[in-house]
Symmetry: C2
Subunit: 141 residues, 2 copies
Amino acid sequence: MLATAVAEARQGLAEGGIPIGAALFTTGGELLGSGHNRRVQDGDPSLHAETAAFRNAGRRRHYRDTIMVTTLSPCWYCSGLVRQFNIPKVIIGEATTFHGGHDWLAENGVTIEIADDQTCVKLMTDFISTNPTLWHEDIGE
Amino acid sequence: MLATAVAEARQGLAEGGIPIGAALFTTGGELLGSGHNRRVQDGDPSLHAETAAFRNAGRRRHYRDTIMVTTLSPCWYCSGLVRQFNIPKVIIGEATTFHGGHDWLAENGVTIEIADDQTCVKLMTDFISTNPTLWHEDIGE
């Protein structure tokens, strides 16, 4: 499932954007929607990777049977999305280059798995080193 | 400033949507962007009132000089937005029909003002009583 999120991150990078991707799956492994950060491409600060995947999955009555997969630790905005919609599990590519709200989610009953994937780490390390201002804009710092 | 958010909520209701509106202002009172919940209108679950206002304000380098105004207590998703982007103040029309994450925001240094506005209360009370399923979908319950 992480491969889908990584493919989204790479697509975002190819578009000149911030290389973070995400995908929402059912617990059975069916892809509901995927997406990537669209700040640069659409001039839209509201579409982080997780919110883009959530949007692309369309309207659902509930999310109790879903898993959010993301290449990077979810920020407070995206962690709030997971908590509000009771998404029970988050698979995270890496939490080394950015440490968001996943500890808070775990404290509130969300299952968190961190893959410590070196492809994800390299995507962000390379991006942050060449685009620090854009990265800081994306996380409000 | 709350009047701008209420006008957005009324517009959403007139469109057949969920009557929650929001607006992002500078601390000096300049409107940066406003919006309303677009779940019904666009089939988009990612656009709550606050995230719609944030999107419509466009890209900004930082939010330290802004105020988020919303007709209803912000859910965890929208509270996460406020925290991640360091929006220092939130003005809330009412927190009677829904109690979101504003206590958590206050604990984390965000200034919270609750207007206890009866127009806002009536908008949501009437809406929830006639559309309970849609309302519960919007907050993931």
